[in-house]
């Protein structure tokens, strides 16, 4: 569902008119209700949202299925460097600024999807994992594999605040990539790492130290926000 909102343009004064200026989120979740909720939440932030219901479909959308068909995940890094990956669809006009995926899905899990994405040409795209269960070891595992954020379900409007840095950073990236300079890109990546580490360390520590029973979950989340 695409919600084109001209208010979005006020965040991108420097962008030249281009086919896809809107912040584009790829949402992966097998639950119909959660996809609908995510769409509505992100629409409120003026994002374009593409929803798919499985990790396989997400990989297909990103054009990653063919190159990894014959390889195991452990060799995915090698295969992506030996055979040039399908050009990140920027040339085809598809750009993804953020991937949000559920952890628990039939077939490919969100963690597996994360690994595949981080081992591909899409590795610079931030990946956010969502889960209804607060399992500290799961959270650490995802963050270590390169997930930028781990959000507890059900998602709320306040969770979008955690995503704001990515909305803004991506716009900076787009502006700077316009001048086509790879050194600037790596500089941005460094900045991303610093910002993300701060966020991730502080958030993950809180979650690791205080695993709350399911129904108590929303209260500790409020505390986390207050500290941030």
């Amino acid at each position: 569902m695409e919600f084109v909102d001209t208010r979005k343009l006020q965040f991108q004064p420097q962008l030249q008119p281009q086919q896809h200026q809107h912040f584009h989120v790829l949402a992966v979740d097998d639950s119909v209700i959660d996809r609908k909720l995510l769409e509505r939440l992100l629409r409120g932030s003026s994002c374009k949202v593409t929803c798919v219901d499985s990790g396989d479909k997400a990989l297909k959308y990103l054009g990653l299925v063919d190159e990894l068909d014959d390889t195991t995940s452990s060799t995915s890094l090698e295969s992506s460097s030996s055979s040039p990956p399908p050009q990140p669809l920027q040339q085809e006009g598809i750009k993804v600024n953020l991937i949000m995926t559920d952890y628990c899905m039939p077939g490919m899990s969100g963690y597996d999807l994360l690994k595949r994405v981080k081992g591909s040409s899409w590795k610079d795209v931030p990946v956010v994992i969502m889960s209804s269960e607060n399992v500290p070891s799961r959270i650490s595992m995802c963050l270590e594999e390169g997930a930028e954020e781990f959000l507890l379900k059900p998602l709320q409007l306040s969770d979008l605040d955690k995503l704001q840095p990515y909305f803004l950073k991506s716009l900076d990236n787009s502006c700077e990539k316009e001048s086509a300079n790879s050194s600037i890109d790596s500089e941005n990546d460094d900045n991303v790492v610093i910002i993300n580490n701060n966020n991730n360390n502080s958030i993950s520590k809180r979650k690791v130290m205080s695993p709350e029973p399911h129904h108590e979950r929303s209260r500790p989340k409020m505390k986390e926000l207050a500290v941030v």
């Binding site: 919600f3 097998d30 639950s31 119909v32 209700i33 959660d34 609908k36 909720l37 509505r40 939440l41 629409r43 409120g44 628990c104 039939p106 209804s132 379900k153 059900p154 709320q156 409007l157 399911h214 129904h215 929303s218």
Partner: protein, 156 residues
């Protein structure tokens, strides 16, 4: 007169909501749903709930069949889905029964599963009835509020 009616209905709705919160039937996630309803998504809550009802009834039917077949693993998978969607709409009691039910499947405790399934069906039915009640009040309130304005114009 009609304005008075709308206010009474609004009070009824809030009383029912407060009751449901107090009983732990609903939690703050339900409020979140309501907050997501706006002019661009005027029927958001009812759309989400209709998806939920449709999905839940299928899940319950499947669960009964799987219990007869003693397929505890598949029951666990269904329960994960049921838990997820119930939690996403703020159906706290239903979610909690799913958690207990899932524990019973992990223990392959057939009697426990049977009890849990009955409880789940009961809680789900209760939730559905209460939510329908809520919607009825809301619809009446919208009707009454809609009629009020032409009457006021005539009085002027």
């Amino acid at each position: 007169m009609l304005g008075f009616g709308a206010d009474l209905l609004w009070a009824d709705m809030n009383r029912l909501l407060a009751f449901l919160f107090h009983q732990g039937v609903l939690d703050e996630q339900f409020l979140q749903l309501q907050q997501l309803q706006d002019e661009a998504s005027p029927n958001f809550v009812s759309e989400v709930l209709n998806i939920y009802f449709h999905e839940s009834e299928k899940l319950l039917t499947n669960l009964r069949g799987l219990l007869m077949e003693r397929d505890y693993k598949k029951m666990g998978v269904h329960l994960n889905q049921f838990m997820g969607s119930s939690s996403s709409i703020g159906a706290k009691r239903v979610t909690n029964v799913c958690v207990a039910f899932r524990a019973a499947t992990l223990q392959t405790n057939r009697a426990g599963c049977l009890r849990a399934l009955e409880m789940l069906e009961h809680e789900y039915c209760y939730l559905k009835n209460k939510l329908h009640q809520l919607f009825q009040i809301e619809q009446q309130r919208a009707l009454v509020a809609g009629v009020r304005y032409p009457v006021q114009n005539q009085n002027q």
